[in-house]
Symmetry: C2
Subunit: 211 residues, 2 copies
């Protein structure tokens, strides 16, 4: 039983790594089973729907793992604004240390499938939404009004994705770091609104937007 | 002569359209010549280096065209801050009107090739850099210090790319619009620094960073 579970996990891990490097269309199933040191038949045993089913499982599991990483960094940060730069800076370090390979696990695939495979597009949308919800919930807990927290969270996820794209293209950590520094200022401004603006901490309590 | 030029242009246009929809790896050369209504042999006539040479030409020509679009919108805007939301809102409208097909011409390819083809990676980096330089130059002309203008321009390009990704995944214009509204606030803040901060308009004059 352990071995069977292990093979499925190895296939998921190897596929996630290949998606990161070369995307969905650039990754072949033979390459996956070779990288996972798994017999070719095992792929259809665990993913009878083939590449699309495997792709969806990788998108969702990678998305959940990355969400956990965000939560870990956020909860270790001294305050919400520092959490923003901590996260962007950590992503910049990982990019540098891995030769600009280890980026967002689903960004490349999200663009590839957006207009070509609706099942996979929905999976990437669910993952992005889960990240936005997690960030928005924490910003709301810090006292930012719910609508504003959701907007900030959306811009943060967009900024991370764009940061990955520009930093990988330039092979430089700077675009990621710079984007994080600027977005941090928006979070700081939302936490300390200018005098004269109405700020009702009570509205910071954020009801789940998805029932 | 007109006909020969026409064929090359048709191949570039058709390839750009296919890259937008399905990326570099998802696009085959037969598909390109069919979409361009061009004989298969003409592709190697105009692009003897095959798919990589065609890919580079498409990245650079699409990048230049998109730069022109940015300049058009910027120069028509009433002020630099409005130019930001004008651009993001225009992108959101085009996304909606084209069923989320007509997005950044090079974003998908940039992620696909970042770790797999250095010639194409450099081409995407050059294009991103040209966009950042164009936006930074205009922000510096508006009185923002050169370093700050470059940072803002980097975050703007990252935000547009992330906005395309999230809006296409969600099939909603909102992520693009929201990101534009928030980034506009950063430009507004840079144009009106809080009292007490040193602002030297003289530094707004921006020397070319690339000699």
């Amino acid at each position: 039983m352990t071995r069977v579970v292990g093979t499925r996990e190895r296939i998921l891990t190897a596929t996630a790594e290949l998606f990161r490097r070369q995307g969905y269309n650039g990754t072949g199933l033979k390459q996956v089973t070779q990288a996972a040191a798994a017999p070719f038949g095992s792929l259809y045993h665990f993913f009878p729907g083939g590449k699309v089913e495997l792709g969806e499982a990788v998108i969702r599991s990678s998305g959940a793992a990355y969400l956990g990483l965000f939560e870990l960094i956020y909860d270790a940060a001294t305050d919400p604004a520092s959490a923003v730069t901590d996260f962007f800076d950590a992503a910049a370090v990982v990019l540098e240390e891995t030769g600009y390979l280890d980026a967002c696990p689903i960004g490349t695939v999200a663009l590839e499938v957006a207009s070509t495979n609706d099942r996979l597009r929905r999976a990437t949308d669910d993952v992005f939404r889960s990240w936005i919800d997690a960030a928005a919930g924490r910003l709301a807990d810090a006292g930012i009004a719910s609508d504003r927290a959701d907007e900030l969270a959306t811009a943060l996820v967009a900024g991370v994705e764009g940061g990955f794209m520009l930093s990988r293209a330039a092979r430089s950590p700077e675009p990621m770091r710079v984007t994080g520094r600027l977005l941090r200022q928006l979070v700081e401004a939302a936490l300390s609104p200018p005098r004269g603006s109405a700020r009702s901490p009570g509205r910071g309590r954020r009801a789940s937007r998805r029932s």
